[in-house]
Point group: C2
């Protein structure tokens, strides 16, 4: 009961702060004395702090208003992408306080090597966060593949060439979990985006990742592998896919498909460990310049995405479709064809063009989501942390 009340007080401060103890008490229906006692515990755990007397001397509100601490417990986000590594630390308010990203080809690279370079990157980010008084209490690694979140194993990450990779239980002393990057991108959108609580989130790096958010939570499916939009057939007799099938969406809207259609050098010629080019920025740049082959490639990708998404909308009936990750940065050229296909193929029940939106988070989504998982856990159950610090 006390643990639930700790969460109520902290949640109230997180959502509505700055708040006085009396404001909190009124909001959650506890006595001011009970709130004060809970605040003592939350403050000792470094989760809330009191603002000093208001500098403008306003009357009516005493100076001892409570806010989330901008120091202390925090979340560490980590990401191993096919062509980058990244780390960031997010404070309790969800603000990114330290981050680093390096462009490097991880395709076909041994997992241990990629993890070692990621660890070095994270060390710098943790040092920067530490200097700002932040102490990450949990880390989540975003991986482009099937992740068994419970056991911390990467079951299969085709575009990295990983199969059944066990991850370490901690990284630099911070407890480590793992999650599919598309799921984390969708969670970041859910937690920091402006949209509804029911959506299909689709993103791309080397592969295509999608995730379903239903009633404000991830829809994982019976085995935890829901959201494999990249292997939904869009042209059943079409191009051969690395997965063994024909005509998967990835063969029409994945990175290599788009680059090949645009007549641009294709990524995997890069050596593992080397620094790749930023194909998203390159495509956007050339599309802005009106390069016909690039515009045609993006139009084709948008059409295929629209076909697959029309199937998804007919099947799952989400409130909206969110274009995230690299797709968000190419939205200007993808959207018209996606919108056209959705309008043409979702006709037996209502579908509004406004249901298709572009994420403001873009490629930052998965890493941000990874860091926010820990912050959300702290806010949902501060008692666990308070008990540890007591």
């Amino acid at each position: 009961m006390r643990r639930q009340n700790l969460a109520l007080v902290l949640g109230s401060v997180a959502e509505h702060g700055p708040l006085s103890r009396a404001d909190v008490a009124a909001r959650i229906g506890l006595t001011r004395a009970a709130v004060s006692s809970l605040v003592v515990e939350l403050a000792a755990a470094g989760l809330v702090v009191e603002l000093g007397p208001a500098p403008n001397g306003r009357v009516g509100r005493p100076g001892n208003a409570l806010v989330l601490s901008s120091q202390g417990p925090a979340g560490l986000g980590l990401e191993i992408g096919v062509e980058h590594l990244a780390a960031c630390v997010v404070d309790l308010g969800g603000a990114v306080r330290a981050q680093a990203r390096v462009a490097v080809v991880n395709r076909g690279r041994p997992a241990a090597e990629a993890l070692a370079e990621l660890t070095a990157l994270a060390k710098g980010v943790l040092a920067e966060a530490g200097a700002a008084g932040l102490r990450p209490v949990g880390a989540v690694l975003a991986v482009p593949g099937l992740v068994d979140a419970a056991s911390g194993r990467v079951v299969h990450a085709a575009n990295l060439g990983w199969r059944d990779v066990a991850l370490p239980r901690d990284l630099l002393g911070v407890p480590l979990g793992a999650e599919n990057e598309a799921n984390l991108g969708a969670l970041a959108e859910l937690w920091q985006g402006a949209g509804p609580a029911d959506f299909v989130h689709v993103s791309a790096e080397a592969g295509i990742g999608a995730a379903l958010v239903v009633d404000g939570g991830l829809f994982r499916g019976a085995r935890g592998f829901a959201g494999e939009l990249g292997h939904v057939p869009v042209h059943p007799d079409g191009k051969a896919c690395a997965c063994g099938a024909r005509g998967c969406l990835e063969q029409y809207a994945g990175e290599q498909a788009v680059l090949a259609a645009a007549g641009m050098p294709v990524g995997p010629s890069d050596a593992p460990g080397a620094g790749p080019g930023d194909w998203v920025a390159l495509l956007a740049d050339r599309a802005s310049g009106g390069a016909e082959p690039v515009l045609a490639a993006l139009e084709q990708a948008g059409g295929a995405l629209g076909t697959a998404l029309a199937g998804a909308v007919n099947l799952v009936d989400p409130e909206s479709v969110v274009l995230g990750g690299a797709y968000a940065e190419l939205g200007e050229w993808l959207l018209p064809a996606i919108r056209r296909e959705l309008a043409a193929r979702v006709t037996v029940r209502p579908w509004e063009p406004e249901g298709l939106v572009v994420s403001a988070l873009g490629r930052r989504g998965p890493l941000l989501g990874a860091a926010l998982v820990t912050v959300r856990r702290i806010l949902a159950d501060p008692g666990r942390l308070a008990a540890q610090s007591a």
Copy 2:
């Protein structure tokens, strides 16, 4: 609290009966006196009865064991199909106790006319059930289209030609609700089938209906229209569909597509109100006889179904796929192609061939599900009924 306990006692008898009062008390952790008092109420509402002394004179178990009543409160299921009308009454144990079905073309027929004929059919079924001591306390109508279950309106049933049809609030004095027929077929499978609690259920009559069952409940989607598998694109540049799009599954695996491919007369030439042929039985009969065009048509339909279902499995990650309705009766000829497509297209994560199963309920599913909705409601909250009868 008492209402919850009524449900616990009744649920215990439903699942494990015959049970003595002492058995029930032991199972649900109430005193024997409390159970006895609850049983009085359930018996007064006609929900449980006591068996007489065991005829074989066994010792150890007194004769006053409790079972669900085979009389009294019951559920009425109703169905308006594109080519049939049906009604049935199901008792508390889920057994069908009275039923009637008539083959009649309802395509393009005024809703009031179809409802009037259905009412006449239901009258006979209710009379038969009444003679057996059964009293339906709720009715649900299965409709092949989009149903707003809350308001009791049929938003759109393309194959009936209905748009925005308001249904009466009761039928022959029994409170009436409505639900999509594919959803009801899936619920019947969930409640009476042998399978898991996470599956995609796909069925066909004139159109193709699908429903998702997740964690033992219907997955309805944000607007309540999830499961439109029939309009998932399988050949995006393919045949024109009545919905306005091209290449929808319905154009390859729907009734008319299969009959046309098999070179057999196509249904809609039948006049509304007339008695159509049973195309499912006809197809099965000819396929059994080895008719090449029919075998080829079913193989093509199976391939298209497999393509669409592969997309659904990749996206939603169900534990199994259940072939229901008319498809169940054609399973022998559809399954090989569906299995082949699933094996070829669901490769980036585990999928076992055993995940594809055929419903034992077949075309009886939706009507049975419609009747069971009321029975499940009684079992979940017998207190409501007990209060009315008190």
